[in-house]
Amino acid sequence: MNLDDELRAALRREEPSRGFAQRVVTRAQSSPATKAAIPIFQPVRLPRMMWAAAMAAMLVIGFAATSEYRQMKAERAAHEAVMALRIAANKLNMTRDKVLRLEN
């Protein structure tokens, strides 16, 4: 007995019940979804100038937003630098006071 041959015999093709193809065709014709695929995303139909204007507006908005963001970052960095200098100055003053106290 050969397992390969036995498997081929056991798994040989089998026909479905009579009228299978006709049932499929009937379902295909009656199902509205199969008649025409309805596109979910249809491209918006706008004149070319409108597309160009929209693109330009998006670019301007993007540029303005980027500039604003950069300016905010620069201001924050300057503020942090001033704060760091103040802290450093305070520490230096404290150290200087300690040294003076030790000398006296």
């Binding site: 007995m1 050969n2 397992l3 390969d4 036995e6 498997l7 081929r8 015999a9 056991a10 798994l11 040989r12 093709r13 089998e14 026909e15 479905p16 019940s17 299978f20 193809a21 006709q22 049932r23 499929v24 065709v25 379902r27 295909a28 014709q29 199902s31 979804a33 199969t34 695929a37």
Partner: protein, 180 residues
């Protein structure tokens, strides 16, 4: 294989002519239905899934380029639909083949009973291994074609085949009177 008439008409007129589409279904129905039937061991469910696959084909036909493309698409969709179905379907016990009960001894009735046992054992294999075995022994595809049909590495296909055959041999050798 395709008849010349059908092949020549893909894809323009197939969905417009119900009889031509019915002919295409008849051409492939045994393959799709048998894959589902062997995989699920349930004729009614197999027929339902086969119908769904052909309905999907009906929608997809205009994008399929040749009879070979149709055949490859049908195998791919059927295999994946079956795997998805059994993953979603929690009604079927998902026990591995090692845990499956020993099949009944085939006594002396010969091939029909042995075939039935083999179908049960194949149906108890894990999803991917089951589809690989069905494509190998029902469709007579070699490992390279199976790998292509399932988008699976060929090493994985070979490993599924070897492991499944070893499991089947082991199960069968433990049954009385079957030595393969």
């Amino acid at each position: 294989m395709f008849t010349q008439g059908i092949a020549a008409d893909i894809p323009e007129t197939m969905t417009d002519d119900p009889e031509q589409f019915a002919e295409l279904v008849r051409e492939h129905q045994a393959m799709v239905f048998s894959m589902a039937c062997r995989y699920l061991r349930n004729r009614a469910l197999a027929e339902e899934i086969a119908q769904d696959v052909f309905l999907q084909l009906y929608r997809k036909l205009p994008t399929l380029e040749s009879p070979d493309h149709v055949l490859h698409w049908l195998r791919w969709v059927t295999a994946h639909r079956l795997i998805d179905h059994s993953r979603q379907e929690k009604r079927r016990p998902q026990s591995p083949l090692e845990d499956a009960p020993e099949p009944a001894a085939p006594a002396d009735s010969g091939d029909p009973l042995l075939s039935d046992i083999l179908r049960d054992l194949v149906a108890a294999l894990p999803e991917n291994a089951r589809v690989v075995m069905i494509l190998r022994y029902q469709e007579d595809l070699d490992p390279m074609d199976i790998a292509r049909a399932l988008d699976m590495p060929i090493a994985t296909v070979k490993s599924h085949l070897q492991r499944s055959l070893a499991l089947l041999r082991d199960k069968l050798s433990r049954t009385k009177g079957v030595g393969i």
